[in-house]
Symmetry: C3
Subunit: 349 residues, 3 copies
């Protein structure tokens, strides 16, 4: 993809790593250990893949400090965090295309909207009244930016995404295709024989360097705001309900759902398919494994799980039936223990 070639010394200087042994030729691409060839750099982050080192044809490999590399044919960069250095080198070799500034003639931009310098508005996009598109932003094809939306410098809005009235994005926010930011929250008052909608008057406030996945939905607040802190990374098809707050640098994997007014801390890790009921408080640094169901507050960082393991269906049916009897089983177990205790006492054992 890129024509540029870097020496290992240059890459070391640019990425905060150390060049321990130079390669023979420049580096022009990244590749996995198994498939890398001349001119390509790879990395070893997981000891499980050490075996591949002996066979790799890579021009150079980024190795962790402790990994021995005597007699290897490839050049060596040393790093505390080889994957991070690899990511930075991958960006050097594959820079994001710089969007051509300007507004495509098929886009519809309200007269009162403001498009800052270097911003790019793609074909068929819509930008409504009083929206502010910061410098260098890219607004993708078919996307809709609602009235009064503001987005800081360097945001990227994917194809057919919708960022609706009342949303405020920080800098370098990435909204992937089809995502919906700022839709009305799910708020209805019980009127006895029907539900009446409650106006959703709050905003969505998104910090800097946030990524919002494809077809993910983030609802605006009902009265207060929905907030996603700096550096959060949200995957595809995630639901973030009204008035949710997510602390800085938390990651949320695909298919997760966070119900209304739940507050999630900073540096949390939420795996795929996880569900939170509403109005919870989740401590900083909490980790949830896939498909966990969270129904109460979490006071401490730590790793949490729920669910039951996969089984062949025939066996699973037997366990599942017994789950229904679990309380009964527990009571019967207690009864047996008491009986046994009585027997022991009586027999003087």
């Amino acid at each position: 993809m890129a024509d540029s070639r870097y020496t290992l010394d240059e890459l070391a200087a640019l990425t905060g790593s150390v060049c321990e042994k130079s390669g023979q030729s420049g580096i022009h691409a990244v590749a996995p250990l198994e498939t890398a060839g001349p001119g390509e750099i790879s990395f070893l982050a997981n000891r499980r893949y050490r075996g591949q080192l002996a066979e790799t044809q890579a021009e150079a490999v980024i190795l962790p400090r402790e990994e021995r590399a005597e007699g290897c044919a490839f050049g060596v960069l040393r790093a505390d965090n080889p994957y991070l250095v690899f990511a930075r080198i991958a960006w050097l070799l594959n820079p994001r295309p710089v969007p051509v500034p300007g507004v495509d003639r098929s886009a519809v931009v309200a007269a009162s909207a403001q498009i800052e310098e270097g911003a790019s508005v793609s074909a068929q996009a819509v930008i409504e009244a009083d929206a502010w598109i910061g410098p260098g932003c890219w607004v993708g094809p078919g996307s809709v930016i609602g009235a009064g939306v503001a987005m800081g410098a360097g945001c990227r809005i994917g194809a057919n995404a919708s960022v609706l009235a009342g949303s405020q994005l920080g800098e370098r926010v990435e909204v992937l295709p089809g995502a919906v930011i700022g839709s009305a929250g799910f708020g209805f008052a019980d009127a006895g024989d029907h539900w009446e909608p409650v106006p959703q008057l709050g905003r969505v406030l998104i910090g800097d360097d946030v990524s919002i996945g494809a077809n993910t939905t983030v609802d605006r607040g009902s009265q207060g705001d929905t907030r996603i802190g700096d550096g959060c990374k949200i995957d595809n098809l995630v639901q973030i309900a009204h008035n949710v707050q997510i602390g800085e640098h938390t990651v949320v994997a695909a298919n997760a759902g966070i119900s209304g007014s739940t507050r999630i801390g900073r540096y949390c890790r939420i795996a795929g398919g996880v569900g939170f009921v509403g109005h919870l408080e989740i401590a900083d640094g909490a980790t949830f494994t896939g498909m966990s169901m969270i129904t109460g507050n979490i006071h401490d960082a730590g790793v949490y799980s729920s669910g039951v393991p996969l089984m062949p269906t025939r066996e699973w049916r037997r366990s599942a039936v017994r789950f229904r009897q679990l309380d009964d089983m527990a009571r019967r177990l207690e009864k047996l223990e008491r009986l046994m205790e009585t027997t022991k006492d009586r027999d003087g054992r």
Copy 2:
């Protein structure tokens, strides 16, 4: 947001509540108890928040009948259902913007489509042949209305939503951004070494006052129709498969999935992440808590759950392993009970 001010007497008359004590000045906004100030009205629906009454700076508060309010500084509206009265006042103070009637010049509208009086078609929208857009409807930017679609008065179709051929919407239906109504159902016949698609010939029929959430999908019927009854409220990222029927005023929260041909009753409450297998019958008034898995018919109203509670992962692993042994444990428990019984009999206890 709004310039209008109302006296408490006016608000009482407009919302079916009782003004027990007038405030000092008019009401121009709604706000939560903690943040409300002069000119703002709040409400108390949950006794948990009573403590905030003493401290609130709200101009007025909507209180339930039984809540004491002697000596309070704020004006008082009395209501059986304070949240409902609050919602109605919030709408009075924050009326929906009335869309400007007419068709944006960037929209593409088929010659045979009919756009009724007061309807508004936004930028980049597409309206295909023979579609009928009722009076006062709002068709959002980038949305697609398929051939022959009919929507009653006052519908609102969000940005980038798709309402496809064969869909019929009642009045005041709200389709949030990115939702897809009327896509082909997931129907394939097993042809031994491959799957052959089965034509999906049915429609989607949606009643009055239904809300369909952002990026939610509702498939058209295979032969019969998919039906969503009056007053249903469907949240974001919900899957409603072909030939599903949902009774009036049922609510379905985000990430839920309803498989083909399942019939859900009226006034059901389905929480987030719930899954139904196909061809089920679910009684009126049934409630399902979050992430429940429904694999059989439900004959009675009531509250149902499944899943297991969250635990620290280290402890969860131990329980999860034992779940696999549950049938074995139950059999061993029974054996011990029989042994104990024998012992008792023999010992004459």
Copy 3:
């Protein structure tokens, strides 16, 4: 919907079935047994519905070989697989509308894009540079086809779908409305106090005759490619992460999620709401029931499940609490067994 009429003999010849008994008039439509009338053909695939045979008003019925049909009033087609023959007849009677070839004047097509003969590009669509749209493809309204995308003959891209740069589609691929193909995978390197994005350089490679559901997301690979084999059928709102590989003719129902680098075999059946963690290997022919959680490799074809069954919430709470104590219960059960054993030994039983 269709004007054409077929005799049963014609239908038999066209679909590989046997006409056992002719009907009175031609067939012009398909319908379910309960509602079918003159001129309509139905089928019996499930013995559960045999009772409807006596009452049906259908002109003809497709029956399995073993089903007796003496004295019936309707015409009879015999087939090994009545549902498959029904599907084929339904297509004959309801052929897909052939899209009008050409590019709608509101579409935006890059000069370097190539639109082959008979392809149709709908209103408001965007086709970016160097894309190749094969013969007879239909590109729906509001959809976006990214730079360099290639799609084989007869593909159908739904309304507001996005097929992004780096995606390659085989022939007759169906992408339903709102689906996103080729979005950036969820790849971030841990930089201590923040996450840094890892460039997603791979492609999405989709085989022939694949169907991708509405609002489903398929991420491009990080280095290697994401691959979906020939004949796969993917339902709505499914997440397919970067570098996932799915073998031929596997079906995945709605709301399922497949995490990064997992490889799923051929002819698998994955029900709704199922979740896979990353880096798994799943054998050909494996079946997973709804909402299963798969955390380990699957070596054999077979049927697998997880989860616990639905219960009234009051009872469920008791079982759920006991789940937490399950390991303790198991240990206490073992202790009782040992005690009982000791008692038996000592008593000489």
